[in-house]
Subunit: 299 residues, 2 copies
């Protein structure tokens, strides 16, 4: 870290004053220290976001990109109904990126950090002659319930989602609201399993089924397709919805719906089955197997 | 995550069996959960390593690169004398990187994870038409002492280092041993400040001085220059030494030296001063100001 970088870290420190009781050691040392507010465990997630894949520096502002990099990880906290604690961000900067651009990126990161009470407590800055890459790692702690896993769906659970699906790449993926408030209510209501929808419903539902050793049948007619989506196929496969997919016993879902006061809608779209296939009943009434339509990063 | 990725994650899970009591939720969910073994705080660090900057896929094996990405973060744990707890790794893979290569990278990561008891508990895998980038985030917990910070050097402290400096890029940077054992002994002996040497002594010593609001004078003749280094200048500026730089009262250092049984040598090279300049006494006896010679990622 040379002078230019030291000054920038000082700039970041001034704009992200940390509570010394929550964070005895903050930005500027080899590690940051976080006190664990309740319980004796901590959760961690990480996401790498790349120029040309998850965002486009030619089209999107650096504030939007910074916001998204945090929001994608906050969505993982919501996926388990856990309380965001703190984040660290490592960046690979293109040559000549410069301090002004880094401040814009930081501004976007901080807007999410403040909105969701998840301070930026550390990071790493490096550079190369290649496009921007941003990796966020985020800590959280359990909320009022145990963290809700993917692997614990039960036969007969309703399969439910928040919001609408598809077409996120037309804009929502940059400015979405991580479903934290929603997730706490869903977990308290007794959801058996939950995850966030990042790779598309067709792919993500198959994860819950595989990990829970169950199957599923969903109803095409019940899927709330976003106005931005190119029909059912978009809702199933577009990805980056950052909505919650959860399974919950039917009676508990009815109770949850009655108490629900948030704007985000919740919709039951199917049921968890003992038989392990993942199926969708098409508008013509015919059930067909769902093939995961998400992106394969190894191909 | 599609089929190829699911299979690979299962491969990783099988090769990194996690203790369910330490890690109630491991790889394969939205977040991993770690129990905090002692105290109620956790520390976190992150480092981004880039092809062409921190490693070279044309020259170095993927096992070496995986090992280094973990070791650089373990060195941060050592820098504060904290106990590694767990790591998450996010990777940006070049197109056509493939599962076989990812397994090699994973093998290197796991060799460090096992050697230093710091399990891999989660990660993210993404791809682009660009070189390999690896970001590791690592958790640790306080050891027997409080975490040793950079900002707490005291006037009159001896300035000390482990090992020898310079020439690391000739090979050591890929296979170095993070100074964890050393750091616990140094912290218990009563070091006032510590950090790991990643940007070169000239740069890193200036951080301790700036953050502690002190100065320093070091003796060129006392600096243990590595045989691989191109003389004093290399020892001061090469970077990536991954040795420890610490400050400690003289009497405590004498006691530490008497008890020292580890192979790594520890050497006093100077003293912390009230006057804020950072100086080096050259072999000719003349003190000159040190200018940070490390790399500036914003230039």
């Amino acid at each position: 870290m040379k002078n230019g970088e030291v000054k920038l870290v000082q700039y970041f420190m001034a704009r992200g004053k940390l509570s010394r009781s929550r964070f005895p050691i903050g930005i500027g040392d080899d590690m940051a220290q976080a006190r664990i507010p309740k319980g004796n465990s901590v959760l961690i997630t990480t996401d790498m976001l790349l120029d040309g894949t998850h965002f486009d520096t030619k089209k999107h502002s650096l504030e939007q990109i910074g916001y998204k990099s945090m929001a994608a990880n906050l969505s993982d906290c919501a996926a388990m109904a856990t309380i965001p604690l703190a984040a660290v961000v490592s960046v690979a900067l293109p040559k000549k990126f410069g301090a002004a651009n880094l401040k814009k990126l930081h501004k976007g990161i901080m807007s999410a950090a403040k909105k969701y009470n998840c301070p930026l407590i550390g990071g790493d800055m490096t550079s190369w002659n290649k496009p921007l890459a941003i990796s966020v790692a985020m800590l959280s702690t359990p909320g009022e319930t145990k963290p809700v896993k993917r692997s614990t769906a039960k036969t007969g659970d309703l399969i439910c989602i928040t919001g609408t699906l598809g077409g996120s790449l037309k804009g929502k993926h940059l400015s979405f609201s991580p479903r934290l408030k929603e997730s706490f209510l869903i977990a308290k209501a007794g959801a058996n399993s939950m995850m966030d929808l990042s790779d598309g419903l067709s792919t993500d539902l198959s994860h819950i089924c595989r990990l829970s050793r169950k199957g599923a049948i969903i109803e095409a007619a019940k899927i709330p397709v976003s106005k931005k989506a190119d029909g059912l196929s978009g809702a199933l496969n577009d990805g980056e919805d950052f909505e919650l997919l959860f399974t919950i016993p039917a009676l508990k879902f009815e109770k949850l719906k009655k108490q629900w006061r948030l704007k985000t809608k919740i919709t039951a779209i199917g049921i968890i089955t003992k038989e392990k296939n993942v199926k969708i009943r098409m508008p013509n009434g015919k059930p067909v197997n769902i093939k995961p339509g998400g992106y394969d990063h190894l191909k």
